[in-house]
Symmetry: C2
Subunit: 414 residues, 2 copies
């Protein structure tokens, strides 16, 4: 977070603003409602004229006009006059209340319309006063908020035809490893298809970034160095997968060194993703994620996603983390904190969590039905069903201000 | 649901498949891993050769090759030979285990490389067997599933360069009402800007549909009839807002009649949205939502969204509904079931809910921080904090098979 960057603002059409983050605080440019209006179909009258109305003393009004929403009465309402008014229409000058249809009787005589009422109406009754819902100048939505359908409705209401949003960070993606085939290639002995790059591209989009895929690299130092040096010029952040471990063909450490990048960390006491590396070069962060699919996924969610949210001016950049009750035993011992792909369930007001599938770190299949990562603190021999654990909601659109997982030993550990 | 339609399939590039719904079940086109592979950096050897190895009897191997992931050994491993192997590489023919670097000592002599080991290794040790994670032909993801980053990784792994997804339903949007201004227009007396159309367009996108906005209509019968009759030819479903109540300028009932559309219902015992109308014309559903912003929002989420999910072959078309504990009193009496815009919070494994703001049905401002709709059964005088209520998670990407809200009276009602 010490190396965070915040994005610039751009002005776009409201038609294109869905899911973007606001670069400005939205205020009410006018009161809501912008005029005194009727919440019902009825007759706008002077309350004074109903002062003596009763079951035994009906009062009759002459209906002078008939207005729907969007239309205004031509004349002020005078004593004994009523304007037939529809829901949402502006209260005519002179009127100070609305009598709903349900309590009015109407008749016609000599081509004139009349309305009779048998009860009193109070001043202000059935009128939504100008500004009663929102005052002009009121702060409605904070900068950094994601634009959902409700926010968009507000933008439209207050005339924001152009919306100032934060430019998406451009994030380069490079996959490394001589074993990688492209998606359309047939399998070859000893090789596997590159699934990390499409996955990260997808994670970047979900997080609100703009991915640029630079292709895959074989384990050749010069070629890889050049490709990475080139790519980094064109992006705000660069994500690579693979090549960060200590194997003979793991080239990233040497590439960072030749680049002159400053390695912030290259080992983390967690599983999967212990080799996750983050380096800084020329104020740009380089995320060296593991080549292992699960570790790559987790590394992105824990380290890259919050930096994207920061770039987008979101003051809640960290993935929403909640507590949930473990639904089944997790008997695997682990010295390190484990982030297990998981699925949350709700029952009777409580939240439960279970692993999404087998959790071998190389297994890609359990990623598909993951909507959460459950956090199992290290230094235990496993956990029993019933333990309350932290869970990161990776599908959630809400965030939080701090990264807060419990490293405390939880109850019901084995 | 009796009038549901299901969408056709289209084949698109994997690059464009994010958030689309699968039109085919995804199966493993090959085993995972596709070959026996090493989970560690080490030496591939014959376990037999370590049978007599011990602290006092080190066994030495000649290192014949050096392979990284993506490369295969040239020759089979014979007695007394070892292949230096990196994580992810294919186990050479002849070898049946891997000795991790940590337990091996290496040295060089006369330009030859050697490795010494002081313990026995079991057959199969440190080998991930072909197909041990996923067998060929295994069903991985069901038809109708939304493509998230994990699903995309699977598609890439198994070579789905083209992905069969469900075509998005084309959904027309028309706003009605003479009071409506376009977003870029200055406010005029008695008028308000059209916020429902942009909101619905946004809700359609969130639900996975393809919105087409046909503009706004003034309250003129012939003009409105023609516009709606035209629009409906070009869409799978049509959503209108406004004009469905019983006001003098509410034209939709007459338009449905002239169209020959069959009105399925035009009144619902709920707040807001009691005037929500759904009609069927030529196997197309016409959603006549209220002109009131909240009622329009709720009507869409309750009635239009599940029909969109059905179209997308989702077997869980209804919005995920959970139970949560009310955090504050809601003292408003209501004869009808109320859908209150709300925000959910999590604490210590439990879910809580509170209203998102003032809940007058005409108030647009509280829509912006809504991530849920809480359901308060009708026939009560209000609810006390502590009551457990149903909550629809409108931001959730998960669905459920049935629409299930409780109409039972809940505890702690007033």
């Amino acid at each position: 977070m010490d190396y965070k960057k915040t994005g610039e603002m751009e002005s776009i059409s409201i038609d294109d603003c869905d899911d973007r983050k606001l670069a400005e605080t939205i205020i009410a440019t006018h009161p809501i409602p912008p005029f005194d209006k009727s919440p019902y179909d009825g007759f706008a009258i002077r309350s004074l004229d109903t002062a003596n109305a009763s079951q035994h003393n009906p009062v009759t009004f002459k209906v002078t006009e008939h207005i729907g929403a969007g239309h205004r009465a031509q004349n002020a309402v005078k004593a004994g006059e009523a304007v037939r008014i529809m829901t949402g229409a502006e209260i005519p000058y002179g009127a100070d209340c609305v009598a709903m249809f349900e309590i009015c009787q109407t008749y016609e005589q000599d081509s004139n319309h009349f309305m009779t009422i048998k009860r009193t109406i109070k001043p202000g009754q059935n009128i939504i006063i100008k500004g009663s819902e929102t005052s002009q100048g009121e702060i409605l939505v904070e900068k950094g908020t994601r634009i959902n359908p409700g926010v968009k409705a507000l933008l439209a209401t207050f005339g924001y035809a152009k919306v100032k949003v934060v430019k998406k960070p451009v994030i380069g993606v490079i996959a490394t490893g001589s074993e990688l085939l492209d998606i359309e290639q047939e399998l070859e002995p000893g090789k596997i298809r590159n699934s990390n790059a499409p996955m990260i591209v997808s994670q970047i989009k979900r997080a609100g970034g703009e991915p640029v895929y630079f292709g895959k690299l074989i384990d050749d130092f010069e070629q890889s160095f050049e490709a990475i040096e080139q790519a980094i010029q064109h992006v705000d952040f660069l994500v690579t997968t693979g090549g960060v471990s200590v194997g003979d063909f793991d080239l990233l450490p040497a590439i960072y060194e030749k680049l002159g990048a400053r390695v912030l960390f290259n080992k983390i006491g967690m599983r999967p993703g212990s080799v996750t590396t983050v380096a800084e070069w020329n104020s740009k962060l380089l995320f060296g994620l593991s080549g292992n699919p699960s570790a790559c996924y987790v590394g992105f969610e824990l380290f890259t996603r919050p930096i994207i949210q920061m770039f987008l001016h979101d003051n809640k950049p960290f993935t929403q983390t909640i507590q949930a009750t473990l639904e089944e035993d997790f008997p695997k011992p682990n010295p390190f904190t484990r982030f297990v792909r998981a699925k949350i369930n709700y029952r009777n007001g409580s939240v439960y969590v279970r692993p999404a599938g087998i959790d071998k770190s190389a297994v890609v299949t359990s990623l598909s039905n993951t909507n959460a990562l459950m956090v199992l603190p290290g230094g235990t021999r496993g956990f029993e069903a019933g333990a309350v654990v932290d869970v990161l909601l990776v599908d959630s659109l809400s965030g939080q201000e701090t990264f807060s997982i419990s490293h405390k030993k939880v109850k019901r550990q084995i």
